[in-house]
């Protein structure tokens, strides 16, 4: 079951797996963390979410796994939508989404194996199946040799590879990566990107937020630019720290 979907062919189709319709998010008395966002993400896409710190990238990602709900508008993820979702359904939704964070969010006192196996344990799979899938994933991210080590003993690059393996454990609809290379050096960052690209080639949708423009400048993927809680039109320019990036001419 897991094996068959893991080996699926790359496919980009018209079906909008994630849809944002006029989404606005206000945090307490601070309005406009996101302003009137309209966006569609398709199955099999590799999408880059770009923009400076505080531009609303993380807020947009949190809406997808319903860590927050929109103040106005509607977020639809596969068969779930933000207007009519119960806490129990949020749990189910999250089991279908893999999330990778800048700070890895591994359980440090658990072994590498247990960290990767956790989503499968939560789902209640059998032990034999969990062992099989976890070992295959650790092999894929080149971390099998460290399976029995506590996560706390790993290097930052290794931690992120383990976090990606954990995100992939349930063969998710999409992997959301929020600045996954933010704490990593150039080589480790490239490894993480390569890993995400490899999973995307096998059919997993990826949405990666980053402001590491050097890393992604040669990639052919769709780019979404954010600034001040809004999605900028293509062809406009955006100020990112010292860099001035000229937007690539791609549809939002």
């Amino acid at each position: 079951m897991q094996g068959s979907t893991r080996d699926r062919k790359p496919n980009t189709c018209d079906y909008a797996m994630i849809r944002f319709s006029q989404v606005t998010v206000n945090y307490g008395y601070v309005p406009g963390a996101l302003k009137d966002i309209n966006l569609q993400l398709h199955k099999g896409d590799f999408t880059l979410l770009l923009g400076p710190t505080g531009s609303g990238k993380s807020t947009l990602l949190r809406l997808i796994y319903m860590d927050i709900l929109p103040s106005a508008g509607l977020v639809t993820v596969d068969r779930w939508n933000s207007a009519r979702i119960s806490p129990r359904q949020i749990n189910l939704l999250r089991r279908n989404i893999g999330v990778v964070f800048q700070d890895f969010r591994l359980i440090e006192n658990m072994t590498v194996f247990d960290n990767v196996a956790l989503p499968l344990v939560i789902e209640g799979y059998r032990r034999k199946y969990i062992r099989q899938v976890t070992q295959a994933l650790l092999d894929e991210v080149n971390m099998l040799a460290a399976a029995d080590q506590p996560a706390s003993t790993l290097s930052l690059g290794e931690k992120q590879r383990v976090a990606i393996a954990r995100a992939m454990a349930k063969d998710p609809l999409i992997v959301i990566a929020d600045e996954p290379t933010g704490n990593l050096d150039r080589e480790a960052s490239q490894n993480v990107l390569n890993l995400l690209e490899r999973f995307n080639r096998h059919g997993t949708s990826i949405l990666m937020a980053t402001h590491d423009y050097e890393l992604i400048k040669e990639t052919p993927y769709r780019r979404i630019y954010m600034e001040n809680g809004e999605i900028r039109q293509p062809d406009s320019s955006i100020n990112v720290g010292k860099e001035r990036i000229i937007m690539m001419n791609r549809d939002v």
């Binding site: 749990n91 189910l92 089991r95 279908n96 969010r105 359980i107 939560i122 799979y125």
Partner: protein, 292 residues
């Protein structure tokens, strides 16, 4: 696999928070010893008190000059009260026999005559065996012509009654303090466990873990503390019972008493730990979500 994971988390939590957990276990143990002892002592006191009340004999002594015929007349009057269960007239001769049985000497040998008066032994219906009615009854019967004195063991009954009450009240007071302390200590252990693992809880939420899966290790942690406290209390109580049985020949406990002690003490311990921690973990996990 899920259960194995939850159990492993539980044992990890217990080991990690072993000092506060030990304090909880000790408090649960002491509270249970007091609770069960109080229960046993109260039951035993109430049983004795009841026996005493049920078998309370009121002795109505007639004047020395009165005969058995007079006693029959007075008995008839007493029967009209409607509160009497049984009346028995004890003649002078019967009284002398009772004297000999109780004291081992013949009253005629000592005094050359029998000064014992005719006596009427009265048992009241059980619902009238309380101190107020007994006092009224004594007063009324002593006013009857031919009655010299009325005796009953009211002092003993009253003392036993006040002792039972004192034991219950002081025991309950100690118990309330201990239950309060127990609640505080278990909550504190759970709080420490939850806060130490707040990142883990947040990660598990993002991975789609349900509330029960997240909370169960902490609830079981409390139940385990209750189990260990219960085992400690049961062991202490059984040793105390054996000591009492060895020290006083008249007191014997059957095997079923020991079995019940194990079962009841441990079950009560587990239930206390389970429910206190279940209430606490909900509270603290919600606090973590709110802070996020």
């Amino acid at each position: 696999m899920k259960l194995r994971f939850v159990l492993r988390q539980t044992l990890n939590n217990l080991w990690r928070e072993r000092t506060p957990a030990t304090a909880s276990v000790l408090t649960i143990g002491i509270a249970l010893v007091i609770l069960i002892s109080l229960f046993e002592v109260s039951i035993s006191l109430y049983r004795n008190l009841n026996d005493l009340k049920q078998n309370m004999v009121i002795e109505v002594y007639l004047e020395a000059s009165r005969t058995e015929n007079d006693a029959a007349g007075i008995s008839a009057q007493l029967s009209d009260y409607g509160t009497i269960e049984r009346i028995r007239v004890i003649s002078k001769e019967a009284a002398a026999e009772i004297f000999e049985k109780e004291f081992g000497e013949n009253i005629y040998d000592i005094l050359k005559e029998n000064p014992l008066p005719v006596m009427i032994e009265v048992r009241l219906q059980s619902e009238y065996n309380h101190p107020d009615y007994l006092a009224l009854f004594k007063k009324q019967v002593e006013a009857l012509p031919g009655v010299d004195e009325v005796h009953y063991r009211h002092v003993l009954v009253e003392k036993l009654e006040s002792l039972t009450q004192a034991v219950l009240i002081s025991g309950l007071a100690v118990l309330i303090v201990l239950v309060f302390a127990m609640n505080l200590l278990i909550r504190n252990t759970i709080k420490l466990s939850v806060y130490a693992r707040r990142d883990q809880i947040a990660i598990m939420k993002i991975l789609g873990a349900g509330n029960l899966f997240i909370r169960l290790p902490y609830i079981l942690e409390g139940a385990f503390e209750g189990l260990f406290g219960g085992m400690m209390a049961a062991a202490g109580l059984i040793l105390a019972h054996k000591f009492i049985a060895d020290s006083f020949e008249a007191i014997r406990f059957s095997l079923s008493v020991y079995k019940m002690l194990w079962i009841v003490t441990i079950s009560v311990g587990i239930l206390i730990g389970f429910f206190v921690s279940a209430a606490a973990v909900g509270h603290f996990v919600q606090k973590i979500y709110a802070k996020k």
